[in-house]
């Protein structure tokens, strides 16, 4: 299955892209996708325990199963206000 990945703030700077497309095996979760990204970009690894995710524009858990066509965002710790 194919998903869209959105990255923000420092995560985007590290990966060098705002939006990516990735192919994943059936049964993959947001965590599977994150782990694949950290393999490509080791500098993402320190965010393992602080990253949040959103699937199709709603907050989700890292163990959320993904489906073909999902839009998955990874969010570093936030600093609005």
């Amino acid at each position: 299955m194919r998903v869209t990945v959105r990255l923000f703030a420092r995560l985007r700077d590290i990966a060098g892209a705002t939006e990516l497309e990735r192919e994943l095996p059936v049964g993959a979760t947001a965590r599977t996708l994150w782990d694949a990204l950290t393999t490509e970009h080791a500098a993402l690894s320190p965010y393992r325990d602080s990253v949040s995710t959103a699937v199709n524009e709603e907050y989700a858990k890292m163990d959320t199963p993904l489906a073909d066509g999902d839009d998955v965002a990874f969010l570093p710790p936030v600093s609005g206000g």
């Binding site: 703030a9 907050y59 936030v78 609005g80």
Partner: protein
Amino acid sequence: MESRCYTRKMDGARFLVTQDPLETERVIQAVASAVDEAAAPTGAMTSFLGLVRAENLGRRVLRLEYEAYDPLAVKAFGRISTEAEGRWPDVTLAVHHRLGRLEIGETSVAIAAASPHRAEAFAACRYAIERIKQIAPIWKHEFFEGGDVWIEGATADPDDEGAREDAYRRACV
């Protein structure tokens, strides 16, 4: 000068992220438009403005650049408002957040709360800014004298009951 009526219905998005400068008047009009005057007649309004500060952690700040996951940020404001209504049933909130490049002293966030009585309006306004800092998918990129850094605060988890309680305690000091 004509006196303003804040219980008259006017246009304006309640929850908004925008590249345009924020105005207190607009966020107050937005909240006024959303109040059900028959159910909870407005007797108090509070507003909060967050400004770009010239100093942070000993650094001399030159400017900030804000970025958001726009659709989720607007939903987060709505969620925060629903949470606040759960705590203070007669309160109505509006939240506007600025994005893009901001200079020192500019308004980054504007919040307005309307309520029949003042205590709830003050508390809900404070609750909203605390929750924004916890769960709104917005980031500030700080440019200071000598460098720049992405500010990273809280791990965003809307379901974290501890964080919600912490915001509530701060709102009720």
